[in-house]
């Protein structure tokens, strides 16, 4: 089976999937693409594109298996774990599994839209503002989803409301608090055993240290946990794929902020 993982710089969803892949030891070809140049929307050899086009995550990595584009970092990490026959990235006990999925859902539904908004405003808006209207129109033409294209436009123009910024910062603070509470009993990893929850949370939170440093001021356990995750060989290997000075400064349009319940 022809399998290729197309990924951006190791930050956000690309980081969690690259690290999950390294945890499994599977031999899958990885190709680095420039997400902010719109390269995700012109990948070669795709038959089934719906997951690339309509994924909730926005500009996350794309795993192509026999022409089918597969997306959503948590599900890709689960897929890799299961493909490798279960390397322990997900608890086998159903209740512990439910807890891990609930945790990841909090991260992908609450933290990731907030982090993507803040990260893109700081790092992607300046770069896209330099893109000519003609080049930006070419990127837009390849994007199938109207709402994702709309989010690209917002990133380029840098339009946001103060209330949304404040809400996003509050969500980062809440996520750090949740980590601090989980780690309060002295555990090393969020769910007890190391799992996809550590990778997904790290991937969205690590960059927030540059943007909302205050959120981490009172969170010694979270800071120690971030350092532990960063030192995992799988995360070290993922970060080594970076082609830029600091991958924490690499962002691309992410999930939308919930529009209804």
């Amino acid at each position: 089976m022809a399998t290729v993982l197309y990924h951006g710089e190791p930050n956000g969803p690309s980081l969690s999937v690259l690290a999950a892949l390294a945890e499994t030891g599977l031999d899958i070809e990885c190709r680095s693409i420039d997400l902010l140049a719109g390269e995700r929307h012109s990948l070669p050899g795709l038959g089934e594109t719906i997951a690339r086009d309509m994924g909730i995550e926005g500009e996350g990595p794309v795993l192509v298996v026999d022409g089918e584009a597969m997306t959503e970092s948590v599900f890709l990490a689960q897929y890799l774990d299961e493909k490798a026959g279960g390397v322990g990235l997900q608890p086998s006990d159903p209740y512990a599994h439910w807890e891990m999925m609930m945790w990841c859902r909090q991260i992908t539904e609450r933290l990731s839209p907030a982090a993507a908004l803040l990260g893109n405003l700081k790092y992607s808006t300046p770069r896209l503002a330099e893109t000519s209207d003609a080049d930006f129109a070419v990127i837009g033409k390849n994007i199938v989803s109207d709402d994702l294209r709309g989010r690209w436009g917002l990133v380029r123009s840098g339009t946001t409301e103060e209330a949304q910024l404040a809400d996003s910062r509050a969500k980062v603070v809440q996520s750090v608090e949740r980590c601090e509470n989980k780690l309060a009993d002295g555990r090393d990893w969020l769910m007890g055993d190391f799992s996809i929850a550590d990778l997904e949370t790290y991937a969205w939170l690590a960059g927030m240290q540059l943007i909302c440093p205050d959120a981490f001021g009172d969170a010694p356990k979270t800071k120690a946990w971030l350092a532990r995750v960063k030192a995992r060989p799988s995360v070290v290997a993922a970060l080594a794929r970076s082609t830029v000075a600091d991958p924490l400064e690499s962002w691309a349009p992410g999930p939308e902020i919930n529009r209804w319940g």
Binding site: I50, A51, M54, G55, I56, V65, E68, M70, T71, E72, F75, L76, Q78, Y79, E82, K83, P94, Y95, H97, W98, M101, M102, R105, E109, D146, N258, R259, W260, G261
Partner: protein, 255 residues
Amino acid sequence: MSDITLYHWEPNANSGKPMLALMEKGVVFNSHYIDMLQFDQHKPEYLAINPQGTIPAMTHGTRVLVESTAIMEYVNEEFAGPELMPANVEDRWRVRWWMKFMDQWLAPSFSMIGWSVSVGPMVRKRDLAELEAAIDRIPMPERRISWRKAIYGTFSEAEMAESQRRVALGVRLLEEELGKREWLASDEYSLADINGFNLAYALPLSQPHLSNDELTPNILRWLRAIYARPAVKKCWALGRTDMAKRVSILEKEHI
């Protein structure tokens, strides 16, 4: 007496997902009906189970579980009975992908339309002071805003138009996907079908211009095949309002 209790409203949307999953597994459970239109979900007895004040929730012994799709996955893994996740790893990924797409992209748009055209008008007739007091008891601020919009009918034209656009596109994408295989995400009936049925069972009634035997033959084939399952009959029999009765549209030979 079972040590499993499901707190649910009608077999519809989020409540219907774990109800049907339990029925398909053949798990015996206590059904605890929460009347959403009477705001039972914000009463102290229920908030003690789920402080978020949303339905469904399930207790299993001392465990408390929330979030409809995650509850279904727990039900499938925890209890004996027919397997509701495929064995093939690509198929498993596809089940999860479609459930997230429906839960987070498509269902919220269906729900906004439903709240605007049916939930709001059903509740609106009551005493306004009582309704305001009920809104004040809602724990999540986002939900207070949603309920106000539903009760006062103040959804903006732009947000309704965007929801309509998503529903129309979502129906088209579902139709295409169901043209590729027998069930939504794999060649076997799975949690994705249970999820999708709860979203779409009344589609030919609520969006007749988008879904019927001519326009969306695959969706209609799929809805009828799910409706034919004994678990679905048992599940929809737990409905108490006209909302659940809409499912009988699927008995018509031609829609």
